[in-house]
Subunit: 368 residues, 2 copies
């Protein structure tokens, strides 16, 4: 520390005086000759110190007149000091995403960070463009909800090159299993297990599932479902494990209809999310099947869909939503400030019991 170069010492000294307003905005600082005497160094050394300060925007030089404290450096400092976090999600306006984004925005604005937003509509090509755009904008950190997290993603090399750079990155909701990236998510395996166990506790032994195939959340919830069945030594029928992907979502109602018409049904369903659960219950009702009297349904995410059906409020696994966004933002801010690696954060699921699930015993009693 003591053997810092002279010009660095002088630079720091001048910088301090500027920031302390010893040399106030717009005023002239001592000439090179004067500073030379003051610090007892050569003119070259003084020039070197001043040159760096000019470069950093603290000073402005004017030949023949003198060197002046810039009134620009303050504003530039603010602009430069302001950090921006890029957020890439699959959807913006749908379902639980507004809440997640709100959580992120809330936390970022607390730390005076800016938020740059982009959505992929669950399309990998859009994800690529969003990533490129964010990188070009030199964001200070990235929060990404992965697109088609259960399929081979062609943008993995982008993520790899990002993880080499100092730009912190955190994944939301799910991660790419091929990469070892930090993430903030609900424990989806546990969630699927909890949902299924709730049905098992109610006496159900024939349990179907409708889940998503192209994202990791769907895969994990299925995993939890299978685990719960295995632990309870129950079997499952392949016909009642129904999987769909983003593109096939619109065809799902007719697929459900076909399934419902194909013979014996289970007494309960686990649904990937509330949207699907509402879809299923509507199809059930159309066929004269009641929920929960005939078939119980447990879903995920506890979104506004949970209470939207006139006939029945959904039993659903709570999704942290805002909290998830807040946690992701908090982690990324911490990573930006401290340059420390990010640790993943996993939320524990929680079951909200409403009206769409019912003990099977009751039904048997009625039938007897």
């Amino acid at each position: 520390m003591l053997n810092e170069p002279k010009y660095i010492i002088i630079k720091k000294n001048l910088q301090l005086k500027i920031e302390n307003q010893d040399y106030s905005l717009g005023t002239k600082i001592p000439s090179e000759a004067e500073l030379r005497q003051e610090y007892d160094v050569s003119r070259h050394t003084i020039r070197q110190a001043i040159s760096e300060l000019v470069n950093d925007g603290y000073l402005v030089k004017q030949q023949g007149s003198g060197t002046f404290v810039s009134d620009y450096y303050k504003t530039r400092q603010i602009g430069n000091g302001k950090k921006t976090i890029g957020v890439i999600t699959t959807y913006l306006s749908d379902y639980i995403f507004p809440s997640i984004i709100r959580g992120i925005e809330e936390e970022l604005s607390k730390h005076d960070y800016s938020l740059m937003l982009s959505s992929t509509r669950n399309n990998v090509e859009n994800e690529k463009r969003s990533l490129e755009s964010m990188m070009a904008q030199n964001v200070d950190g990235l929060i990404v909800e992965p697109t088609k997290s259960n399929l081979m993603n062609p943008n993995l090399n982008y993520y790899l090159s990002l993880s080499e750079k100092p730009t912190p990155l955190i994944m939301l909701n799910a991660s790419y299993e091929e990469l070892d990236l930090p993430f903030v998510a609900l424990d989806d395996v546990k969630a699927g297990k909890m949902a299924t166990e709730h049905l098992i506790d109610l006496g159900h032994t024939d349990i179907g599932i409708i889940t998503k195939s192209d994202d990791l959340q769907g895969k994990n919830r299925l995993k939890g479902y299978l685990k719960a069945l295995y632990d309870a030594k129950l079997t499952f029928s392949n016909e009642f494990i129904m999987r769909y992907d983003t593109e096939a979502k619109n065809d799902l109602p007719s697929l459900i209809r076909i399934m419902l018409e194909s013979g014996q049904l289970p007494t309960a369903f686990v649904c990937y999310n509330d949207e699907i659960a509402v879809m299923l219950i509507k199809e059930l009702n159309d066929k004269g099947i009641s929920c929960p009297d005939d078939i119980s349904v447990v879903s995920h995410d506890n979104s506004f869909y949970s209470t939207t059906l006139p006939s029945v409020k959904l039993t659903s696994i709570e999704h942290p939503k805002e909290k998830l966004g807040i946690q992701a933002a908090r982690s990324i801010v911490q990573a930006v400030e401290n340059r420390e690696p990010i640790t993943s954060y996993i939320f524990d699921p929680e079951l909200i019991i409403r009206e769409s699930t019912k003990a099977i015993a009751e039904k048997d009693e009625i039938e007897i």
Copy 2:
């Protein structure tokens, strides 16, 4: 031109060679000593030229090793070309805002623009901070949904200083009447008039309204309501013009309850938006009053609330939502590209008739 300083000539020469890939990315350029010989100048002069190029990001120096062509300057160039639009709204996750933001994002991404997002939670202090932040970030355009547009806004001077700058600005949903800023919005006066006229057409003569006092939309919808009554030569009772502001929203249910208990009621209500309509209908039902059999309700915005009530789907004025966002984005992009002044865009309202309104004649018949 001929008497340019030597170091400037050398700098330009080197810069040219870098851009022509004579010195390609990452490779070492000749040492100071070599360049000294090549240009027949002192080492100091070479260092001066190189120093400026290092500062501009073209070169990177490494003591003991050499001076190298930076691979960073290219990306910095690209980043500067990308345009960013700042979006400031009151809320992010609530109500129709996700749809609006989605529209904006969709249109901006089509033009390869970035979106910087901030919300004010309808607080003017937050609005100020958001504006400052956006200005510091040097956004290329701004889309603002005004905070408390019907109250004197303390940030008007910010907007004034903005309108002097070349940064295009467009207001969303409403504008500040004190300023003459371009905006994209629904014709709220017409909307309020249309809603009220629908009730008049159904035979209602006693019509109340619940509207918001601190934003322009509420004021305009009230204006339309009064206009419709005036045109139909109907009177209104002050007790049934109920106004509330953002802060008092949570107290609204109890205020409605008090109103409902205070004697004779109108046969119909116009509501500021679907959220309020749902609130009102719940309170009505609690008092054993049916909608639409006893009291008709027409609301605004046609949001998901319109179809959320188990008892009745709402008759509501359509809000353009996505279209509004798309139009705002399109206007701002046009303004950024062509540097032309923005013209306001006003959407015509449209009535969606559902179950919450009923002709008064029918009711009379039943009663007879």
